[in-house]
Symmetry: D2
Subunit: 373 residues, 4 copies
Amino acid sequence: MKKKRRLGLIGSGFMGKTHVFGFAAAERVFDLPYEVELAAIADVTMAQAEAARAAFGFTQATDNWRSLVADPAIDVIDITAPNALHKEMALSAIAAGKHVYCEKPLAPLAADAREMADAAEKAGIKTQVGFNYLCNPMLSLAREMIASGELGDIRGYRGLHAEDYMADACGPFTFRHDPAGGGALADIGSHALATAEFLMGPITKVMGDCVTMIASRPDGKGGVRPVETDDVGRAFLRFANGATGSIEGNWIATGRKMQHDFEVYGSRGALAFSQERFNELHFYSTADAKGRQGFRRIEAGPDHAPYGRFCVAPGHQLGFNDLKAIEVAGYLEAIAGLRPEPFNFRAGLRIQTLVEAIQQSSRAGAWLDVNGD
Amino acid sequence: MKKKRRLGLIGSGFMGKTHVFGFAAAERVFDLPYEVELAAIADVTMAQAEAARAAFGFTQATDNWRSLVADPAIDVIDITAPNALHKEMALSAIAAGKHVYCEKPLAPLAADAREMADAAEKAGIKTQVGFNYLCNPMLSLAREMIASGELGDIRGYRGLHAEDYMADACGPFTFRHDPAGGGALADIGSHALATAEFLMGPITKVMGDCVTMIASRPDGKGGVRPVETDDVGRAFLRFANGATGSIEGNWIATGRKMQHDFEVYGSRGALAFSQERFNELHFYSTADAKGRQGFRRIEAGPDHAPYGRFCVAPGHQLGFNDLKAIEVAGYLEAIAGLRPEPFNFRAGLRIQTLVEAIQQSSRAGAWLDVNGD
Amino acid sequence: MKKKRRLGLIGSGFMGKTHVFGFAAAERVFDLPYEVELAAIADVTMAQAEAARAAFGFTQATDNWRSLVADPAIDVIDITAPNALHKEMALSAIAAGKHVYCEKPLAPLAADAREMADAAEKAGIKTQVGFNYLCNPMLSLAREMIASGELGDIRGYRGLHAEDYMADACGPFTFRHDPAGGGALADIGSHALATAEFLMGPITKVMGDCVTMIASRPDGKGGVRPVETDDVGRAFLRFANGATGSIEGNWIATGRKMQHDFEVYGSRGALAFSQERFNELHFYSTADAKGRQGFRRIEAGPDHAPYGRFCVAPGHQLGFNDLKAIEVAGYLEAIAGLRPEPFNFRAGLRIQTLVEAIQQSSRAGAWLDVNGD
Amino acid sequence: MKKKRRLGLIGSGFMGKTHVFGFAAAERVFDLPYEVELAAIADVTMAQAEAARAAFGFTQATDNWRSLVADPAIDVIDITAPNALHKEMALSAIAAGKHVYCEKPLAPLAADAREMADAAEKAGIKTQVGFNYLCNPMLSLAREMIASGELGDIRGYRGLHAEDYMADACGPFTFRHDPAGGGALADIGSHALATAEFLMGPITKVMGDCVTMIASRPDGKGGVRPVETDDVGRAFLRFANGATGSIEGNWIATGRKMQHDFEVYGSRGALAFSQERFNELHFYSTADAKGRQGFRRIEAGPDHAPYGRFCVAPGHQLGFNDLKAIEVAGYLEAIAGLRPEPFNFRAGLRIQTLVEAIQQSSRAGAWLDVNGD
C-alpha cells in the first residue's frame, strides 16, 4: 500500500486546473511513490473555492490560504495564485515544513526568489517550479544528444517564445504589466531561457534588448495607463560550453500561439524544434551519406522516455497536460528521494536572475556577466 | 452530489490503459453527469488482473470476466479484450442489463457486430465503440465546415490510415492476421472509414483493392504461416452527398507512425488534415482575396470545443489520451440521456459492414453497393 | 565549333514559351552537342507568329506550319500546338525526315500515338514528348534509390496530380473536355502515371475510377454543354516489380496548384515527395539508429545531377523552367547519339495506353491488364 | 528593332555563370528595352577566359580586364571578380563611362563602396549591385503588404541568413576570412540586412554581436592561420518605422543550405518566409473569422508579378536563376530610364555601412546609430 501525500492547492485558474489534471494523469500514467490525496483547495472567495473543490474533487475548500498552509494534515502546498503572492505563501508553507510546488515565475523579483530558495534549502523541504515545457520527451532527447557529443562541439543557439495574447493594443493593463516583475521577457521569455539552459547548460553573459511597443493600455476605468514593461525582450547569450546564441520573448507576435522554438548547431549535427509541433524533433547529422543528408523529423515514441508511459505506440502524441503530468511525477519522485528535484526553487531563482540580468543589461545598453545562481 | 457509475473493465493492455487514462482525465476535465468508480478489472490471470488493479486504482480484480459482468454492483462494462471475445462479453453484459463500452472493432465480423447492435438496442442499454480519432476538436470543426456549406458543394475526398507496425516481414503471425476479421483494412483502414463517414456522411458504393504483400510470417514455432489477410486495403468510394473519393488502410507503410490523413475538396474551399499534426486543420477558402489565397493552418484552441476544457489558451495542444477523455465524456453524457450516443454499436457495425463490403468487392473485382446499416 | 541544329516551333502559348525558355537556358547551362538556332516559328495567324518571333528571337515567322515543316533548313520540329493537331504535324515532320519534339499528350488517342511512334521509329528520327516533371533531379534520385535496392523490396506506391484550374463550375467547355482525349486523367493524371512508371517500372494492371463531377459547362454561346470527360480519374495499380499502388488525377482540387506528389514504401525505407516543394525529397531509412529515425528532408544540391549545372551551391533551388531546360538538353544529347531518347514517342504512347486502359477499366468497372507498349 | 547593349563580363565563376544565365533568361522572359550582346568576357588566364567564352557564348575573351573596360564597343561592365578587385574595376569602368553591374558586396569596406557610389553618381551612369534574393515576387508581395498597411502597424522583425559552408573547421582560410571585409555578417548577413531594409525601410540603430567560433583554419601550407572574422554576426535593430527586430548571419549553421528567413509582426497581421521554400509566403490576418485564423501558405503565381512572365500557371515555381533574370531585367530597364535603379551602388554602400556599424557596435559592446547613407 502506497503512502499518502495530501495536497493543498492555492488557486484554481488556468494553472490550478492544469496542476489538477497533472496530478490526476500522473497517478494513472506513472508508478508514483505516493498516493496523492486532493485534500484542500483555497481560493479568494469561498464560492470560487467551493466550485473548484467540487469540479476538481478536493475534500475541503477554503477562502483562507493560511489555514490551508497551517493544516497539519497537508503535506504538499501547491501555489498557483497570482505571482505577487508566491513569496508569502511559499515562505509560510516552508515555515510549516511543507513541500512546496510553485507555478512559475517563482517570484516577480530575483531577490524574493532567492529568499524563497534559501528558506527551502535551509528547511530541507523539496520544491518544484512549474516549467512544464521542459518535461517534453523531445527536449530530453535533445539534451541527451547535446550532452553526449552526438552533435559535436556545440556552437550556436537560437531560442524563442513568442505568442500574441498581448498583441491587441486595446487589451487592458494587467498585473503582467507591473513594472515590478512584469513584461514579456519575465512572463514567457523566461520559458525560452529555461529551455536554453536546460539544453545547453549555464549562460555566462547576456546583452539585453527589452522594448515596449504598446506604450499605454486601457486602465479599466475609462483612461489609459502607461506601460513600462517590455513587449519584446531579446538577448544575445554566451554559454559556459563555448557556444553563443540568442533568445527572444515576445507577447505581441500576431498569429503565434506557441512559438517556443529552438535551434542548436554543433560541429557534427543540428537540432530544430518548435512547440507548435512539440512531438517532433528535427535532427541533422553530418554522418549521413553524401546526397542523403537532411533534417530528419523524429516523431515522439516509446524510444523517448517517458512517452511509453502514456502510449505504447509511437506517433500518437502527448498533449500539453501530459507534460504537466510528467512534471508532477518527477516532483513526487524527488519528494520520495528517488531522484534530485527536477526544477527546484534554486532553478526558479536562476530564471529570475537571468531575466533581471537581461533587463539590467538592456537598460545599461551593455553586456552583463550573469551571477552563478 | 453526483450519482455514481461503477465501471468494470475487461483487459489491461494498450487500450485498457488508455481507457483508464480516459476516465481519469474526463473526470477532471469535464463536468461529467456521474462520478465514475473504478470498481473492478478482469484479466486472463489473477496476477495480471491484480497488477492492473493496483496500477490503475480499481477496487477489485478478477481473472473471471463473467463474474465481473454478473456483478450487480457494476453499471458499465468496458471491453478491451482481444477482438474475438468482444461478442460473447458484450452479449453477456447486455443480457445483464449493463451499458457496454467496447474497443474497436466491435467484432471481427459484421454478422457478429449486427447481433451485438441488435441486442443492445433491444435491451435499451447505451453503447459506445472506441473510435477515438473522431473525438478530435479539429475533426468536429471539419465536419461543421462541411455540413454548414462553408466549403460549398463537396466533391472529393481522400482518406488514409497508414502505419508501419507490420512492415517487418519477420514480425510473427498474430490474431490480426486471422482470416476471420484480420487485416490492415479492418484494423486501421477502419479508422479511415470512420473518419470518412464522420465527415462526409454515408458511403453508398465501394470498389475494393485488398492486397497481401508479405505472403507468410513466422508462426512462432520455427516455421512460417501463410498470410491471407490484406496488408494494404484500398477503396474507391461514392458518398450519398454526391462526392467521390478513396481511402487506404496500410500497416506496412515504412516510416509512418500515424498517417491518419484526409483531404476534402469542395466548390468553395478545401481541408487538409494529418494526424501526424492533429492539432492543426488546413483550410483553403476561395473567398480569400486574389493573391492572398492559400491553405491556412488553423491551430486548435478554445474556439474549437471541447479544447477549452483542457486548456484556456490556444496552441497548447491535446494529446492522444485527451481524445480518449473526450470519448469517455461523450459516452457518459449519453448514458445520462444528455445527448445521443456518439458512436454506438450500430455505428460500430457500420464500420464492419463497410470493411466487409470493401473486402468482398476486392475479391469480386467489382463495385458493390453498401447496405444501409 | 559546334554543329548547328535549326529549330522550328509550332505554337507560341504557355508551352511554346516554356520550350523557348528551355532551349535558351539549356544552351547556357549545359554543354550541349549542338548550337540551336531558333529558325522559325509558326502560329495560327501571321500577327501571332510575328509577335512571338520578335519576343522569342526566332529568325522567321509563318502562319503556315506546313511550310515550316517542309523547310529543308530546319532540323527539329517542336510541336506545342493544340493536342488534336499533334498527329498530323508530327507525321508530316517525320515524313520530312525531321526530329520531332512534341508537347504532351503525344495525341488525344493511343491509336494515333501508336501511328506516330511507329512512323518515328521507321524513319529513324529522334523524338521527345514533354513530361518535364520527370526531369527533376530529385526524381532521378528517387528512381536511383528505388532501383539500387536502397529502400529494400518496393511494396507500395501513392501518386497524385491535383490542381484546381477546372474547379470553377462556371469555367467554359474547352477542348480539354472533348470526349476524344479530354479529361483530368488524360490532361494531368498522365503526369502521375508518367512519374509512377519512371520511378517504379511498368504497370501491369489497372482498375480505374473516372468521374465527372461538373456535369455541364457554359458553351460560350449562352447555353451549357454536357461534360462527359472525367474531372477526377483514379486508379489502383499493379506493378511488374510486385508492388501495388494507386494514382489520382484531379483538376477540381480546390486550392491545389501543383499537387504532383508521390510516396513510395519499401521494406527498408520510404520516400515522400511533393511538387509543391519540388527541390526536396523526404527519405526514411530503417537503418537509422533507434530513437533517431524519421523522414529526412533532402534538399537538392550538386550531389543530385544535373543540379550542379545550374548552381554550384546546394539549397538555391531549381524552378519549373529549369526542368524544361534539362528536358531539352537530354533530347539534344539523344539526337547526337550520346544517350537514348529520354522520353520518346513510344514512351508518350505508353502514357496514352495507360490512360485509356484506366478509362476503359472505369467504364467496365473491372480490372484490366495493360498491354506492353 | 531593339537597340543593342554590349556586355563585358569580368569573372566566370559561380556568380559569373549565374549572371550569364540571368541575361539569357531575361532576354526570353521579359520584354527588355535592349538586345544584350555578350560581347566580351575576361578572366585571370586566357585559357579560363576562352573556356568561359565558348561555354557562355561571348564573342571575345581576354585575360586583361582593363582592355575589356576600355573597349569602346562595350556599354555595360559586369563585375563578378573577387571582392577585393571590385573597386578598381568599377572605378575604371565608370571613368570609361560604362554602366556598371557589380556582384555583392560592392566592396569589402564601406569607404571604398562610398567612393564607388560617389563616382557613379557623378558620372551619371547606371549601376546595380547583385542582391538577387530581393527579386523574389514573394518579397515584393511582402513589401507591398507591409507598405500598404495590410498588416497594421509594424512592430517586430526577425531576419536570418544561415548556411553551413564554413561549418567544417578543416575548411581552409580564404579571402572570405580576410579581416578587411570578410566574415559571415559581411558575406551573408548582408543578405539578411538587405531584405530587412527592403521590407521594413531604414534601420536607424544597431547593437551587434559578431563572434568567431572557429579560431583558426588551415593555411594551405601545412600550418594554421588565426581567424579574426566572425562566423556568426547578430544584431538588434531599430527601424525608422518604429519597429524593433534582429538579424543573424551565420555560415557555420550545420545542415542549413539557405535559411534566408524572415518574420514580420504587425498589429493586424504577420508574415513568415523561408528561402528554403521561397515560392511561398505565409500570411496571418487578424481579419479572418474567429476559429478560422491561421498562417496561410500563399503560393507564388501570376498574381505576384513578375511570376507570370515565367509561367502563366500558379504553383510551378521560380528557381534561383530566375531571380537573377528578374534582377537583370530591372537593371536594363533602369539603364533605359524606364524605372529607378533597383539596387544601385548607393544601395550597395548602404549594406556595407550597416555591416560595419554592426561590427563596430559589436567591438564596442554598445548600440550605434546608423548614418544615413
